[in-house]
């Protein structure tokens, strides 16, 4: 490289060895513009890296496959025995690192999946032509981009560790590009790369098939496979931290507010989903029937001292419920809805001591309680208890101490535990000691049932949900307050709504608020107001913040639309 950039020159020297052709191209490209220099540097680095990789693709793959095989053999999987579940995937596939992708890759994939790209080009994606016009460099410059883009594409493919796909792509890189070129990405200002992609893909149609072919033919293998692999690993790690270190977010700025869609509350959501037909109902039923045939086996294994844990995609609530109704009708059992947001181990223990053992009295600590239960169950061998826990891995039961107590409970010989887990990291809750207490038998029960109950308690049905829940809680709390208190809150809410266009609105200062309340005959002293505010604060209805000048500002931590809804409702009531 002849470019006299001090910092990067050393890296680029290396490059010459690998891709002399590109080097020539870059000579030309370099003259044409300085604006994109930074990007080019990155791209060329990736070119270099890719060329290296390309040499070793086949070696690497062979080796990876070999290693996987070793691991698989070590774990005693046998290839000829066909599996009833999906556990024949190697860990490498599940946990592989990938290059971070840019935001509009999603849209790309969507259109790819939709398979009707022309139709799906969104109307607001018309910015791209002008962007292309903004880069009026010569053809050679564009050519270079095509190159680097091609390499990048292929690099991505490679990293995804699916040899089959890779080979496919290597054999026919052009159709892929063509299909991409018909689609234009949604543009936001950060995405230089996208813009280049547009330019280059368009160009690739016109110009460069022969050259790209030449570049994509893999050079002869060499024996550096191992080393390269390490390097690749290193790069991926770097990429990971790169992607996570920058606070800059490479996504578009669109928000749901701008979408003219009304928010759905819990009820409408529920109704809508009820109306929507469940896809593949027949297949799901088949799947569930398969699992139901295991019920008697579960029962047997529970009696033999094992406990059963169910995993796999889909709600296992119905399945457990069916198990309960079909086999446990005649025995004492306890159903714990782990997904319920306010469940605690204490309440589980309480219901055992109070309802199952019919003990009246309290315990100083869960440990005491556990000891009491243990004693009772050991004394009386006729006592038997089945415990069904939906979502053992829920937020509330996840803690180490809760798991410890549950594990000890489950280790009692006459307590039979059957539980379900969903979270991908759920098994991390248990160490060896707990695992041996639980004495799990794992059953894969992929049901594909929607998690209706489990998600209904989450107030995190993302943004759409939070509003409605807050609204119901607002009205609920306010209804239990005095008329004056409600008036005070209304005042604050109205004030906040008036100021909704001011993004830096800090809240209403306490003094102003007091003044207003006095004028409305709602309070007679600032002490009463403070007492009232404390009550609001306890119910998380308001938030107070001290400004830079030491003044206290009051704010309702609810978004405007909810607040407006609330006021509307209040008006109706009054």
């Amino acid at each position: 490289m002849s470019r006299p950039e001090g910092t990067r020159s050393s890296r680029r020297c290396l490059q010459v060895k690998f891709v002399p052709d590109e080097d020539v191209l870059k000579h030309i490209a370099d003259d044409s513009g300085t604006k994109v220099r930074k990007d080019k540097a990155q791209l060329s680095v990736s070119v270099k890296r890719f060329v290296k990789k390309l040499e070793n693709i086949s070696d690497n793959e062979a080796q990876e496959i070999l290693e996987e095989k070793n691991y698989v053999a070590a774990l005693g999987i046998c290839a000829q025995e066909s599996l009833g579940n999906g556990s024949n995937i190697s860990g490498g596939e599940v946990y592989s690192f990938q290059t971070p992708k840019r935001s509009n890759k999603m849209a790309e994939l969507a259109s790819e999946l939709a398979q009707t790209p022309e139709k799906n080009v969104a109307p607001d994606h018309s910015k791209c032509p002008e962007k292309m016009a903004k880069t009026p460099q010569g053809k050679m410059f564009l050519l270079m981009h095509v190159f680097s883009l091609l390499f990048q594409n292929k690099k991505k493919e490679f990293v995804s560790t699916t040899p089959y796909r890779l080979r496919k792509r290597l054999a026919a890189p052009d159709p892929y590009l063509e299909s991409e070129s018909e689609y234009s990405a949604s543009c936001s200002e950060e995405e230089d790369e996208e813009e280049q992609k547009e330019v280059s893909t368009v160009l690739s149609d016109q110009k460069t098939p022969t050259k790209t072919k030449a570049a994509s033919t893999p050079p002869p293998r060499n024996s550096l496979a191992k080393k390269i692999k390490d390097q690749k690993m290193g790069n991926l790690v770097e990429e990971y931290f790169e992607a996570h270190s920058s606070s800059k977010v490479l996504t578009s700025d669109r928000t749901l507010q701008k979408l003219r869609k009304r928010r759905l509350n819990q009820q409408t959501l529920h109704d809508l989903l009820k109306n929507a037909p469940l896809a593949y109902a027949a297949e799901i039923r088949d799947l569930n029937q398969q699992h139901e045939s295991l019920f008697s086996k579960w029962m047997l294994q529970l009696h033999l001292g094992f406990n059963i844990v169910l995993y796999g995609l889909g709600s296992k609530r119905d399945l457990l419920e069916k198990f309960r109704t079909s086999l446990l009708q005649d025995s004492v059992h306890l159903v714990v809805n782990g997904y319920f947001p306010s469940i605690t181990v204490r309440s589980i223990l309480n219901s055992i001591t109070e309802e199952v053992l019919e003990h009246i009295g309290t315990f100083r600590s869960p440990l005491d309680q556990l000891e009491f239960i243990t004693k009772r169950f050991k004394e009386d061998p006729s006592l038997e208890l089945y415990i069904l826990i939906h979502n053992l891995d829920s937020q509330m039961l996840r803690a180490e101490r809760s798991q410890q107590i549950l594990a000890q409970l489950s280790s009692l010989p006459s307590i039979y535990l059957i539980a379900s887990i969903d979270h991908i990291n759920a098994p991390l809750m248990w160490d060896q000691a707990k695992l041996s207490l639980y004495n799990w038998l794992w059953y894969e029960t992929t049901t594909f049932n929607p998690y209706v109950e489990e998600t209904s308690y989450e107030n995190s049905l993302l943004v759409q949900q939070s509003g409605s829940l807050a609204l119901s809680s607002l009205t609920h709390v306010l209804h239990s307050l005095t008329l004056n208190a409600r008036g005070i809150f209304r005042l604050l809410a109205q004030h906040q709504l008036e100021k909704k266009d001011n993004p830096s609105y800090p809240g209403l200062s306490f003094q102003d608020f007091y003044q207003q309340c006095r004028e409305a005959f709602l309070v007679n002293s600032d002490l009463t107001l403070r007492a009232q505010l404390t009550e609001f604060r306890d119910h998380k209805l308001i938030r107070t913040k001290r400004g830079a000048d030491g003044v206290e500002y009051l704010l309702i931590p609810v978004d405007e639309s909810t607040l407006a809804d609330f006021l509307e409702k209040e008006d109706e009531d009054v």
Binding site: I77, S87, M106, L113, H303
Partner: protein
Amino acid sequence: GCFVFKPSAKKRRLSEKTAHEFRSTSHDSEDTELRFLTCQSLWNQIKSETEQIQEDLNKQLLDNLVSFLSRSHSDLQENTTKWTCRMKFREIPTAALVLGVNVTDHDLTFRGLSDVLQDKITPYVALLEAKDCPGIKNLMQKLMGQLMNCDVEVDSLEDEDCVQVSQNRIRCSMSSLISWYESVTKKTDSETPSKKRNSSSRHLQSPPVVVIFKDMESFTTKVLQDFIVISSQHIHELPVVLIFGIATSPMIIHRLLPHSVSSLLCIELFQSLSCKEHLSTIIDKLLLTSRFPFKLGEKVLQVLINIFLYHDFSVQNFIKGFQLCIVEHFYSQPLSVLCCHLVDLKKRVYSLSSDQCENIRRLPSFRRYVEKQESGKQIELLTNDSFLKEETEKLLEDLHVYHENYVSILRCLHVFTSSLPKYPLGKQIRELHCACLENQVWETEEYESSLQLARMLNKTDLVNMLQQCVEILMSSSGKEFDKTVEKLKEFLTQFQNLEEASQERDVAISSQKELQKKTDLYHLQKTLLELKESRRSKKLTKFEILRFEVVDYIDRLVRQYLVPADNRTLHEIVYFNAATVLRGHLNAAPRTALHTALNNPHWYLKNQALKCDGGGISNKAPDICIVYKLHLECGRLINLVDWLEAFSTVVTAGEEPNADAASSDQVDDIIHARFIRAVSELELLGFIKPSKQKTDHVARLTWGGC
């Protein structure tokens, strides 16, 4: 909120019997009750056997500990007169018990230990676990509770009310403990001659109080330190002995405790048997024996051993896996009713129903066997039930004999292979066992190379091994080995004879030694060359010929007896081979299952529409799969609006594209709702979480493919 409900509490009494009945009816096919009973009795046998093994293995350790404790105690006794010198030291006798990383196995050891101690040394044993003792207060409470309970056991009935008072006492302090101890020891002293002869004759006067810390590493240092300091203050009033259970290394004591505290301890180190040796013994006693009719197949054994070696080193888990194998086998294989001891076999074979006979005929190994017979017998076997039963009985007896021989010869082979350099066939007998089960071991390269190496063994080793083999074969229950033993003995005498003959050859050797005196390089080279040539041309010495014979003979034995079990007829009845089932239950991969379900729903939902080439998913896949697939394309943060748009693009394309434009708003709402559901499901699964970094964004929690 009411989240727990407990129906049918009234029916409680019913449950007892249903549980029992259920067990027998749960199997769907033949002879279920018998099968279940066989399974249970077999398991109970194996369980007691394993417990016995564990006990035997721990015996050494426990004996050492007991002698240590009684010594520490007797020291105290002797020194009663010289309290002053004792007081100066204030050292607590402590046993550091290094048990290894397999924490889950420790429970059994401790249970055995406390039983032995209560039996031989002292009634006052307290077992403490870190999870019960977050603070010194809890520790004292726990300690007193346990000590006073054991007090009840020893002193039984008479003092019950007095004990109850002490239990209710809430103030748990050292002084109350001491006063309790004094009262207790005084009482036993006074009672000893009259009533309590039995119990207290075992325990010496003023027995020590043994406090066992099961998992010393997980205790908070503060608690430990406090306890040690306090009890060292009172050591002359309350003879405390500590036992630390250590999973890592004894160094941990000094890392946990500062010098000032650890100097209060008088530590003696005890090492338990390593878990690997434990496993070897278990395998030796459970698998390499013909005592139990049930056998593990190669893959199953491999899975169990791998879980042990790569995951937990826990013998308990190994046994648990073994139990699961038994249950699975008896549950899934209707013919397992024949998996019983030889004594019962005949009766069971003849009581087989015709369905069961069909089951036998359906066994692949049996079909292979039938094909080998001449046509007349084939027809008989396939049509005549009673003939089939006779044949089955014979085959099963053969199988039993095969096992007996197999085990003995395997041990003999192991004697040879375990002493070869680099252990081509493995150091442990379990490795050899797996190799032999897997396929015909004599066809493997490893076997070839180990024979090569065996041909180079020196005489003393060879004789040694042969003697061991003779012992093994003599002690084995197999009846066919008389000749083999004779043959081996003959080899031994031949070696003996060789020894005498070899003295004649000494002359030749001495002549060689003369040559060595000349240190001239040229000469040395020359002689070496000569030697080489002579060796090439020279015919083998007698010893070498004999050695070849021995190795060949062993080879013949191996070929004859170590046939893999898969080749035996009716091996399905006694061998459990469903390794994948076992692995799925014991060593599951929940995340892999999720990955498959999300990436390749066709695996589970056998619908043609879901079938897709290249491992991708179609646009008709379940919502959550599409949403998941789309989110994979994003970086750290995901814009919900973009996501929703992409989702609706896919879904509308997937559904009928000619949907009315008029109802599009309605459809939109439904799609919106479906999107919300899918996203919240992904959140539940832990792939994303809400983010405050940017409005309407969620953060991805995974990196890469899943």
